[in-house]
Subunit: 415 residues, 2 copies
């Protein structure tokens, strides 16, 4: 039996027990895990230093180095996030609905854990603890696998929180990490249908696509966002400028940031110079189609590729359209079904856009940046699903659950 | 562009339009499809005859031949099932819930179609129309692919219903079949993530496993059922005999039929002779463990394989256990998480079994045969999901839907 197979078998055993553990024990375990992180801070930092040293040798770049780095402050933040998860409502056990059949059978549709969750992520040690906490809260066993650059850090964090959880009454092996840096182990996890109920990849597009392509275990696809803000002919111009600047600039590196601005030609002459001025002042590099460049000659020329690209940076592509219909067609053609916004004072245009645009979240007169579990009031967020199966949009705790039908009878047989 | 790619692109275009078609138009189209099947009966039977002739040459066996065969009566039944789907409530557009955020944003969580559904099935022509009807009702475009033995029949049915749907106002290409018998086309469909939102395989274990293993498009896994009836020490013996006979014999070839009987040793001497007598009289071949064979020496010896096998036939494996705990462990080890039953008058045993057994449906004092969309009152059934993602257990119309967040603002930007 390989390491991964063994982890899978152990996780499944743990998951069966974990499914019936009380909320109280789970919440106490989350607090104990938070305490343990603070107690073992120096051990964790020591292990993180090994990763940092090796990462510097490999020249992984400052942004990645920063994500990898753990210090006392960051460990405290991670520990606080576990306490926040402890404070959330436990979704497990909820009777979603129930009914009585004519033959007297009583059906309860009950929320239960998924079982075993596989998390595949990159060199972000904090994801280790985030995922462990969210899975524990929802009664799932988790098998974690970080990017190899972060392996020492992630194993240290896993060991610390898993030990604390066990001591607090959580079944052993509820929280495990794959210890080998061997890449084959990841592929093995992706095919471990016998033991793993779902895979959640977290990270960049290439990681997620690799998991989607290779996994036979069901996957929740997250992340990719080529989001548009469409400024309709009846937009409030000041509002439109505010919203595109916010959607592009407030945090350009995230999936719900806008990547394209689509503008109705009836308003483009009035709107675009104001928008270009503010966006340029905010440091945004602009490219646009022919009409946009006639109005704002200082912007670059957009190629077909620009309509497809998720820049994740201070860059924005500008498309002009002759109608609402053309705007909707453009958004549905190039969008990634994440978050799309219309700015308009026209009621019918707003209704048509929300009806016809196919995306997890469609906004009228608001920034795409709101697509977020915290902003929506869902509590913790595991990610943002861009697939349509199981969960779409911001994923709260419920997205880590499934259902079970419990049926009470008194001797019923099928006729 | 290949045939399958073209179908995918067309289906996606159709799906965008179909998502906003009214219930009235969809229901009228379903009625028109039902009418067309009756009108084109002789064309359909003629095409089916081609398949039947070829299938007989291939010696596919009487059971498969019977499933493949279409006559006037069967076409009428298929047409009635479309009218039944028309009479169901349309789940699309339901506002599942909604709330107002402190910043004034109003969030509506709305039920929407999945988009494009790929159905991969075997030589059962009726699945063509069933799937087309259920997908149309839920606003999904569908790409159908039957077993090659049934291809002429399925293409005839597709052409008839697709034409009727178009005439009734449904977008072209909402219902399509892959026309080439080439197996590669199926693999292509399984990897068509760009256009296909979900795959639903329907058929035997090998078809389903092949799709689960090879597809990169999200799959809803259906079907496999190694179901147990556990007779607890405090069971009502007459009820227990009735239920195991029903669960095994009422329709042995389906996934919710029982494959194993698990009996507590405190009741086995009293219960087993009665059960064996009735089961044997019903033509069931029995195998059991050592204790079971001491009590009923006429039964065969069970091997490890018997605990795993989904017989789908009049055969049953009998396991004896010393405790409720051992029964639960056995069920969780060998079950396929489909349907499991306990027969007991002991309240705590019933509660513990329903809590600890991991399955889509867990029964107290009722037959496993009830796991069915029709029996549960869900209306039509697309299949029974044995995975935990998206939908578990009987799949009604809602399982063919996803959600969309529609967010109404008045200029909100993220701080």
């Amino acid at each position: 039996m390989t390491e991964v197979e063994k982890l899978g078998q152990q996780a499944q055993q743990a998951a069966l027990k974990l499914a019936t553990i009380s909320t109280k024990v789970k919440d106490e375990a989350l607090q104990a895990m938070a305490d343990a992180l603070l107690e073992k801070k120096s051990f964790i930092i020591e292990q993180n230093n090994k990763d940092m040293k090796e990462a510097k040798k490999q020249n992984i770049g400052d942004a990645l180095l920063d994500r990898l780095m753990l210090d006392a402050k960051r460990i405290e933040d991670i520990s606080v996030s576990l306490r926040e998860v402890a404070a959330l409502k436990d979704p497990v056990g909820e009777i979603i609905n129930g009914w009585r059949l004519p033959n007297g059978l009583i059906i309860n549709k009950v929320r239960v854990p998924l079982g075993v969750v596989g998390m595949i992520y990159e060199a972000r040690p904090n994801v280790t603890v985030d995922a462990a906490g969210l899975c524990l809260k929802t009664g799932n066993a988790v098998i974690l696998r970080s990017g190899s650059v972060a392996l020492n850090s992630c194993l240290a964090l896993t060991d610390v929180v898993a030990e604390a959880a066990s001591k607090a009454g959580i079944p052993d092996n509820a929280i495990q990490s794959i210890r080998t840096p061997d890449r084959e182990a990841v592929y093995e996890l992706m095919s471990l249908n016998k033991y793993v109920d779902v895979l959640i990849p977290r990270g960049g597009a290439s990681l997620i696509q690799s998991v989607v392509q290779k996994a036979s275990v069901p996957v929740i696809e997250t992340g990719l966002g080529n989001c548009h803000v469409y400024v309709d002919k009846d937009a409030d111009i000041d509002m439109a400028v505010n919203i595109i600047v916010n959607a592009k600039c407030q945090r350009p590196g995230v999936c719900n940031a806008a990547e394209s601005l689509v503008v109705h030609r009836d308003i483009v002459r009035e709107f675009l110079p104001l928008a270009v001025k503010k966006l340029t002042a905010a440091g945004v590099a602009l490219v646009g189609d022919k009409i946009a460049r006639e109005i704002a000659p200082e912007i670059g020329e957009a190629a077909e590729e620009d309509w497809i690209t998720e820049y994740l940076a201070l860059k924005l592509a500008i498309k002009t359209v002759v109608s609402l219909e053309e705007a909707i067609t453009h958004v549905n053609k190039y969008g990634t079904k994440h978050s799309e916004a219309i700015i308009t004072e026209d009621y019918s245009a707003a209704m048509r856009f929300t009806d016809e645009v196919d995306a997890a979240a469609v906004y009228v007169n608001a920034s795409t940046r709101f697509t977020d579990g915290g902003q929506y009031g869902l509590g913790a967020e595991i990610g943002i699903s861009t697939q349509k199966l199981h969960v779409r949009g911001p994923m709260g705790l419920e997205s880590l659950t499934s259902i079970k039908y419990i049926v009470f009878g008194n001797g019923q047989i099928r006729k």
